[in-house]
Point group: C2
Chain length 198, copies 2
């Protein structure tokens, strides 16, 4: 196997990149300037040393900045915490500019079929944070899947005694979407979660 085949095989292991795209990328890398390859190669090699998990929220942060900037930034609203499945969800929510509170990354959702129970997620750490910090509302932003819903219920149960408010992101027809193309479950949810027009 040539280095080119090896490179194609390795690239094809990345998510969303099939055999054909991998070949296209490899041929591009063969013909681009070597400086770019040197830089990209180094970045890929070292990213896990330079970017670590924040010891407080579980999101990604630079090796020298733990807790992460979101956890330590003084102007954020420390009364509400948004619970997400994965670190990339923090980026997605931050990009909306619609939330200015804290985050907590679970590392997944409860999924018995995949062998993931509550103990595999950072739920104990979440309970500790609720006890230690001045949080008044927990917004559960797990995906609106069966596992995400189960996890939200579990969190509500887990934190019941603390008296904090537990909420869940609304699910329904996407903005700009069309009733005609929405599935029945989504429509049913959007009915249950209907909001008053005023």
């Amino acid at each position: 196997m040539t280095s080119l085949d090896e490179l194609i095989q390795a690239l094809a292991k990345l998510p969303g990149i099939g055999r054909k795209s991998a070949a296209r990328l490899a041929y591009h890398l063969l013909q681009t300037d070597q400086q770019f390859n040197t830089r990209l190669g180094k970045l890929i090699h070292s990213v896990q040393q330079k970017i670590i998990r924040c010891s407080r929220c579980g999101s990604f942060t630079e090796a020298g900045a733990d807790p992460c900037p979101i956890c330590t930034y003084p102007d954020r609203d420390r009364r509400s915490i948004c619970v997400v499945e994965h670190p990339q969800d923090v980026l997605t929510l931050e990009s909306t500019g619609a939330f200015n509170g804290l985050f907590h990354v679970l590392g997944g959702v409860i999924s018995p079929l995949d062998g993931i129970g509550p103990e595999q997620l950072s739920l104990g750490r979440l309970a500790d944070r609720i006890a230690e910090e001045s949080i008044q509302e927990v917004i559960v932003a797990t995906n609106p899947t069966e596992e995400g819903d189960t996890t939200a219920l579990y969190i509500a149960h887990l934190l019941k005694q603390t008296g904090v408010r537990i909420s869940r992101l609304a699910s329904g027809i996407p903005v700009g979407g069309d009733l005609e193309y929405a599935d029945r479950i989504t429509i049913a949810r959007s009915l249950r979660g209907r909001t008053i027009v005023d």
Copy 2:
């Protein structure tokens, strides 16, 4: 800018990878096993040292194997040569198993708008090969674009004196395609290039 942002920016420079896919890839690389990253990083860094251009046909080959295996393999048909735009076209044609001759990579097509004239392509080298080797047919497999057609005509003109047969890949309705969805120019070409049913 963090190393994560740098990695996302570098990945987004690759063809077919937008900002969102780049972020998804970067987060995957953050969470995959480090061994994979080390290997992929090295492969990207070193691919241009390990894979070079074949001095005969211009296709890619391993640094220790020049001329390339296709040029040197004794069982290939040395009477016909397929002229392609880019090295990856060799891979595409090889994957069909429908051609067993030699290849010649032009490195592009004649495109005055992009400032690419005949002298930027390996056309002189092609003429030399026709003079030196025992080639009887040149199959021009440039893409069926205006530039690809111009280049094919140029090659036919260039090699006119040599007496070799010059052919061009057929263009027409793709197999499994539908007349209804084909464009007018493709249909016109498929009419001109019609074949006898026997």
